[in-house]
Point group: C2
Amino acid sequence: MMSVDAQPPARVRNAASWLINMVSAHSHRLVGDGFAAAGARGYHYRLLAALDEYGPSSQATLGRHTGIDRSDVVAALNELAEKKLVERAPDPSDRRRNIITLTPDGARHLAKLDDVLAGIQDDLLEPLDPSERAQLTALLTKLADHHAKRSRL
Amino acid sequence: MMSVDAQPPARVRNAASWLINMVSAHSHRLVGDGFAAAGARGYHYRLLAALDEYGPSSQATLGRHTGIDRSDVVAALNELAEKKLVERAPDPSDRRRNIITLTPDGARHLAKLDDVLAGIQDDLLEPLDPSERAQLTALLTKLADHHAKRSRL
DNA sequence: TATGTATTGTTGGTGACACCAATGTTGGCT
DNA sequence: AGCCAACATTGGTGTCACCAACAATACATA
């Protein structure tokens, strides 16, 4: 039994799909653990980073920049505001909006999370030499750009 | 201060970490949608694939092969068994164990999911030419292998 | 033989991420 | 005015991942 059968068993993984999911899962775990150790989670980082990059924004704008649903933005900002990492103020020029501002504490926290992420990146890419890392980054950028364009339709 | 501040705004994404997460999220969404359309989810595919690759197994073994927690294996197998894609039988030689077997229907379903996955892969890798796809696969394989080895400690 | 340890299946609970529907308020347009 | 779009918020759903506890069974060894 199993004479020649031992050949097609590993067909299971459709290469890229499976690989991306494996690496993704690993990266996801590393990031989750790292952020948890820093008392944060992915949504927090994304929001803080968007605030740092684009400056004070409304919650809806933050949602668009981070790809986080409006409702989830509310919850995450509640948590960030409670820790004084972010400030919520009504927009005088449009009373529907809240203007969210990064506090100095928030900026410091973001810097810490950046460090965490850098460490994770090293861990994740450990088996790759610099040239390979550049290759991977280039390929992933291509995919990410393509996906971003498509999702903007 | 901060005059030259306009430079480091896009520093936000620590390249690979961020990119992998973006691509991973996109892939995750595609896979989730694709599986949902086929009336399945990730756990189902993983379990069916493991059964196909390793043959009839106990639930604990399935969990180890797929990286799914024992408790989640139970739930997913309940769903698969209800759809007759899998059979649960007590192991006579060890009354703690259940032996899970892939049914012909299950094998057919797995084949369908493999097709779904292949389609997703094409969609995901659309912007890459064959040589680039090979590169990406090679790099991801390196990462996945490295991770697999590490998690086996 | 008895006792302790490990494994197995199972139940139940938690958290993160992603998404959707409904609501009330406000802005803008015609 | 009236209508429609955008905003913040609440609450709910589903998937993935993980953990703790339990009873039953197997195994080792004292």
